[in-house]
Amino acid sequence: MRRRRFLWVALATPGVLWLLLLFVFPFYVVLSLAFGTLDPLFLSPVPIWNPMHWIPDQFTYVLSHLAGAAGFYGPAILRTFAYVFIASVGCLLIAYPVAYYVSRFGGKRKGMLLVLLIAPFWISYMMRMLAWVNLLQIDGWINKVLSFGGIFNVHIAWLDGRPSTVILGLIYGYIPYMILPLYAGLDRIENSLLEAARDLGASRWSTFRRVTLPMSKSAVVASLLLVTLPMVGDYFTNDLLSASPSTAMFGNLINTAIEADSQVGKGAALLIIMFVVLLAPMLYYVRMTEKAEGGAV
């Protein structure tokens, strides 16, 4: 028994260490910065490690500027939720049919299709966004394609700081993260269940609506979480495809704060707020999967 216990501890140790080193400790540093102070000469952030001495000033500043007349953080946060919502729905509308097609009709080409779906991961996110910068320029390929070889005079300034371009970038950048878990979820659904539904008289649509869709619910939620959580913290897409304050997102607020010495503590406070906000959907997912597992038993 003692040997078995040792085995479990040994197996858990790397994961626990990983969490301690790469989550608990960094998070504690962020907390110490958010509740820290500033170096009087360099204005650089000075963390206060002892929670008994934490100073809430920077946190209070951020909270008091989230909403109301002085709430300059508010619009960017609301904008973020709007962009992320639209981009997530866009991702789902594109990714679900793709994943459905590969899992149901991929046949022998499933492997190749999966490789093609994973291919964007081989190129860094930054490079993919920079490629879009080239494509979306006034003289770029998007306008050339839209002009149908010069028949129409198309000079759309896609990069002039418009929300639609940022949302397009988010959809393009994160869609592979959605297709894969959706595919995994849909591929797990037993064919026999679908056949049973058809045998019992259900139409194709009814089978999809009453069997496939409910059974892929947890995959949909997981894939939505996988894309929405990083999207909320994304600042790079907006920086490259817009760079306008009028499209600034939550991640940009944090990034701007971190770039200015005296604002780093406020950046840390914003990060904690984002963490708390994102905790809710994560907890929902955990609860949902627990319930599903309970139901399965």
Binding site: A12, L41, S44, W49, N50, P75, D160, A243, E259
Partner: protein, 424 residues
Amino acid sequence: MPASSGEYSPISAPLNRRAFLGKSLATAAAFPTLAAFLDACSSSPTTAAPSSSAFTVASPANPVTWPISSTNPAIADNLVPEQNAIINIYTYTSYLDPAALKSFEKKYAKYNVKCLITTFESTSEAIGKIRSGGIQADIYNPSYDQMGRMVKGDLIQPLNHTYISNISNVWPSFTNPFYDQEWRYSVPYTVYTTGIVWRTDKVSEDVAARTNPYDVFWDPQYSKRLSVLDDYRTAMGLVAMRAGWDINTADPTQIAGMHEQLTKMNQATSPKVNVTDYQDIPTKVVDMCQAWSGDAFNMVSYMPTGQSPDVLRYWFPTDPHNGEVDNDMLVLLKMSKYPVMAHLFINHMLDYKVARANFMFTGYQMPQTLITPSNLVSDGTIPKNLASVVVEESLFAKGQRLLELPPAIDAQWQAVWSQFKAGA
């Protein structure tokens, strides 16, 4: 093994609420230990740094001679350069000609010297890493408005002028600059102005002919066609110059006024805020922008194939009192392991041929007496329409300088900038 048997089983023994609370409390109890540990590990800059009340602001009206401490003296004369030195220059990306490093290594090959470049994104990041010891470098490339902090923070060491004979190539004013009288700690690296660039094929008016060309950033006809520099001092300096205020203002009313004007600018033209103007103008992402003269020069090489740089214009006020001029410096870090060789490298960078080649590589001019607009235009280095990007000493002396702000005022500026960039 069932949990009820009394044996511990990581799978079958779920964490009940009481156990969870118990473990949480244990973790919480451990935090002070972690805090004490981290406290012990960190050097507390708040206690080590001088108070902000002792802060000295250098300005043309108040030139400062920084003291040389007996604990941080310059190196002695006539020292033999270190053997096998590796000189690390801490600078911005693409801000130093690699050929300058090669020629230095070749010049001092008998000492087997090697040079390398380490880059930073912002001077805030750089200062942070230098202070924390996160980087081991010899030469650092700051702007002059960091001088006071670096001297007071004991980050740089004084220069021994006997090793830097090429200072004679540099504009005479830099042998006694206001921010470092007697050039005790610094030599100039680059000089630049901040003005407005536009494309004549996209902007029909002559921006320079306006009564106040800075107004273009508030002119709705240029909505979403502009960019300002993503540098709070420079972009807010533009707002101040337009209003006729001091670009180093500490007046709370004027700082609030800058906030108001930035908001109005955002509403009127919604400009991009970035530092990629040298690419954005050539590729028509924007038609007009606030730009450093060095980036304006760089736009020529970024023009797409087949397009002429003749469409580019750069405006800097004819009355430089209403224009911003700045310079960056080379300083020797106190942490340098090879101070003699580092002195020789600084001297090397002030050599005319090296400086000119460096200007061509980076786009940023070094203040050498032999570099003049007429020379550069006549030999075809710079198109005639961009002759104004070359900085002349007489003009430079009259321009407005971004001065080091007292920390409390600086924090107010940064707070306004954060609000502007939030796009509220």
